[in-house]
Symmetry: D2
Subunit: 342 residues, 4 copies
């Protein structure tokens, strides 16, 4: 019996990507699709790459429309998910691809989002210690942010193994789809092609507290994070370059061992052979994560780098992976580790 899924916010990038993945999922049947300003339009116009859904028409995002599904994916502006989830009732699996339920600390939420904290849902990063158990059977999932996904998968093995000092320095480059589909002058093709630029510098990016939360949980103590995101001239992909001082006595071998231990059994996270480095093109369109790590002995720092597709593993792929776990389906079902390259 198929899982019936609805997508709220189907005209945006996260919504489109979750539909792309659900179309390839053998156990899912796509139900209602909703939008706001785009309600009434054909999906063929809004998401012309989703050919099998071209004739579907967006409906309004209301509880009535979303009712009667087994799973509802929310790709809504932040602050709107709680009200929708409440109306859907406790038996529907609600997968929130927005930020509302990611943070555990209400003060963090208020500082970075300027509104009341809606709560905390099980966090959909199955690779974190204990996460699969928390996701199994849940009916509420907070999908991680794209940067926190990339950064956490690059650094948690070091913190879980206790080999890194408690200050991480992270510079990440993201494709432009991470900024969404709302048209802004700085996101025009004319502006972004040929240009790299930073934003949210100095701790101001909203993904910072989420990264701190994840790394601190892995470390068992507070990790401070300097996080600088940059916008790269590509549509998709995140390359996260992360580093931290190695603790005294840490060797190249112990670094490698920590990562092999943490990632060996992960179906989607691939620790590359020594000497090979991640590239966002290699994971384009897939749920795979490439990770590499090295100890720079001249400065005593662990350098860990990851590449993900920000829309796939970084958003919609992570959402489907967690949905699979929640529903008791095989975790890899409908997801691919094969990138579209070149």
């Amino acid at each position: 019996m198929a899982v019936r899924a609805a997508v709220a916010g189907a005209s945006g990038y996260a919504g489109g990507e979750v539909l792309r993945l659900l179309l390839a999922h053998p156990e899912v049947e796509i139900g209602a699709l909703t939008g706001n300003s785009n309600a009434g339009q054909r999906l063929g116009t809004l998401q012309p790459h989703l050919l099998p859904l071209a004739d579907r028409v967006l409906q309004e995002t209301t509880a009535d429309v979303l009712a009667g599904h087994d799973v509802v994916f929310l790709a809504l502006p932040h602050g709107q998910s709680a009200a929708v989830a409440e109306q859907l009732g406790p038996d529907v699996l609600v997968v929130d691809m927005g930020a509302d339920f990611r943070l555990e600390d209400a003060a963090d939420w208020e500082k970075f989002y300027g509104s009341a904290h809606a709560g905390t849902w099980p966090y959909g990063l199955p690779e974190l210690p204990g996460a699969r158990a928390r996701l199994t059977g849940t009916r509420r999932i907070a999908v991680p942010g794209c940067y926190p996904t990339a950064v956490t998968l690059a650094l948690f093995p070091a913190y879980a193994a206790g080999i890194a000092e408690d200050e991480a320095v992270i510079v990440a480059a993201s494709g432009t789809s991470g900024a969404g589909k709302a048209p802004k002058p700085n996101l025009l093709g004319s502006e972004v092609m040929g240009s790299m630029s930073p934003y949210g510098v100095g701790g101001g990016h909203r993904h910072t507290p989420e990264i701190v939360q994840n790394l601190s949980a892995a470390a068992g103590s507070r990790v401070s994070v300097s996080f600088t995101p940059t916008l790269a001239p590509m549509p998709r992909g995140i390359l996260a370059t992360c580093s931290a001082k190695a603790k005294p006595g840490v060797t190249a071998e112990s670094v490698r061992a920590a990562y092999e231990k943490a990632l060996a059994d992960e179906p989607f996270v691939h620790l590359l052979p020594e000497g090979q480095w991640p590239a966002t093109a290699s994971v384009y369109g897939s749920n795979a994560v490439q990770v590499q790590v090295v100890l720079d002995e001249s400065v005593g720092r662990i350098i860990a780098i990851s590449a993900i597709d920000n829309l796939a593993k970084g958003t919609a792929g992570g959402a489907v992976q967690s949905m699979n776990i929640a529903l008791g389906l095989p975790e890899e079902l409908g997801l691919s580790t094969i990138g579209v390259a070149p």
Copy 2:
């Protein structure tokens, strides 16, 4: 019982793409992978996006290595396929993604390739009238060139319906992967990013006689073709802008009707709703073709435009589609009409 497939030339772009698609094909098991200068290397180094095959090692391209498979895909430099095919015997399905067996006219081959003509195999463009019957049960397939695929699917409906005069003017833009993986200065990222440039202008491109062959077959009489390919700053995709004078009495309605008739039942070729135009991003990574057509009444020309992924439908996807037909499998098996966008 799985179909066992080998790929000769697995380190290049066509070889990599056919592997990407075969990995998602439910009836295919991937056997031997061969290369030339790359024999002995891990596929994880050469094709880092094909994670499930990362530990496979390329072998030499020999008959021994390729023996014992049901299907052998050839992604070899032109002129090499005949010898390999002969050694494989008549019962193995040989799918040649190169040019050797596409042309029916030996003089055309000699003029454009400067060597002896190897012969003609059933042509792997199932959408052409009569093609599916010719492909069913065959053990030899000549996969069309990428430009001929895009151009033919844009224009054959007009010629098959007898609504277009016999001179077609075609300007097509291709992503750089169409030029292959052999490093040349003019294909460096530094050169191609931010630049559009033509090549093979004035009838010199080797795909010209293949386009003439296809359109003439559709028309039932010789069609002359002015074909100008251009290199576009993107990795994948072909946008083919094609036009021909409309015959007297042709109307916008008769143009539309001709295309609806020709394409209505095609699983991969999608005639867009009026007013919507193809975009290569919409078919990125997929086997789908977007086509749109209009009659420019001010000049009496039919303008037909198509978008394909040059590596997918334009090469490896077309190859798998034809393989499915040859083997009696469902034509769409393992192939997708969903693009990876944005």
Copy 3:
């Protein structure tokens, strides 16, 4: 004594480009800069590449602000130039980079723009026969559209020499800056990177009548034009691929001779040596035009291809070149034929 220049619409791409060029012009002093919604903002924020003007602040676009300059460049939405020009008086050189005064035929204007025709000003394409005489001393200049600049320079030599039949087929690829700086979803970097797509197909693009006007003038009789513009994944540049049937008796030599004759003395238009083809990267940021032409003898068509920078020679560079002529300055003053490549 310096020429004092004002720019109305200084926050957009055309306005920014004319400022970039005027900053390098030895006889020009930059005066008032105006915007509409951006009035009051620093240019350093709006045009961060124009470092020497970073502290200038945009004023409102009013006759008072624009008064007292020798030259006023208008980069305004269409329909607004006439009123501004009238207020500036007949002694000020008004260079309109918009469309308002390009077309000679009021019916064409009304058909393509849907408003009353404002009139016709001397057309700023100095390379056209007789154009320099018409521009000398004028106080009103209509700067050509970017596509008409590229197409006309590729084809007028054929029509002026009487070697081409009267139907031209043109497919042109433009960088995204041609679509302006107003944010629209289809112009987002996420949408345009990796994608080629057509628009205004079937004769609907507003530059069509301007191309017809220019080629017809060169031919001395009506030339019909099939024009298909496409959007290419690059910020700047136009590659125009143009063709027309050769008249009977035309040879490769007569084609070459026609182009050499028409372009030999042009300072900015460079007929490439045989065998070399234009590339938009080669003219990036410059006022140069690369042209190549060949006779495709297999189909009897003249194929002429040009590359320009749509913002430079295609807009602001053409504007400055015509300003130089109008003011009696050396035509090349302040303009470069050196592209920024790679």
Copy 4:
């Protein structure tokens, strides 16, 4: 009287860029141009963007050919500059755009380049304390590496002011032209478009000791450097994201003051207004440097970010700037702070 300049290695990216800049330099006359494998070819084929030099033909790189010039720019593979310079004699200004004479420490050279150290020449980064005096009148200049230029200009103000701890963490993204024009598979457009990837991770990049040298000189004591370069999908530009722990007591105001003091009088280095961040597009083709700095108080780190054009200020522009100083010309002569954007 014009300065007569020769360029050895005129077919590559550095050579092409220095020619682009010298063509715009009012006091320079371009003399001999040399290549190696390209000797005998027209520059119009090799550097089609340099229209005024299209008919120049490359000569062999010999002392005879290079003799008789006032300045010789060397854009040669490393290890070749010393022999050429010696033959040119002490009165010719030799500007080496390669690495040979940048490092002061012979052990560093041997470790990173694996050959004997050729020596140390005056270092062509005029913005460093004392550099202009050392460059004035010199006849030998070692042009800095592109990454060291970007990183040093971002961080030296902090070290010169004594506000930063002695470990810097640097992640820089470079356009592909930094890797040169020699064709390699990983630099193909198909590979780099849409992809970000690191290289030389863990201290292995040859620019690391040069960065250490510069920052240590500014600090007056050894600064350790973790440097990770990444390849970005753009032809030009470096964005360097640099950080270091702030020393105790450092405030946002003291950080800003240190940068204002160090950069206030620099003609090419522009400390952006607070809240605005560098973008490589803004300095495209220009000698300008954009710098911004902030104190991230949550983690106590100074984050300094710079954007340069790697070929201009990062190579050829820096070379011309230093040449101007050496010859007693105005430092800004022939150089621009205006980027080509969008």
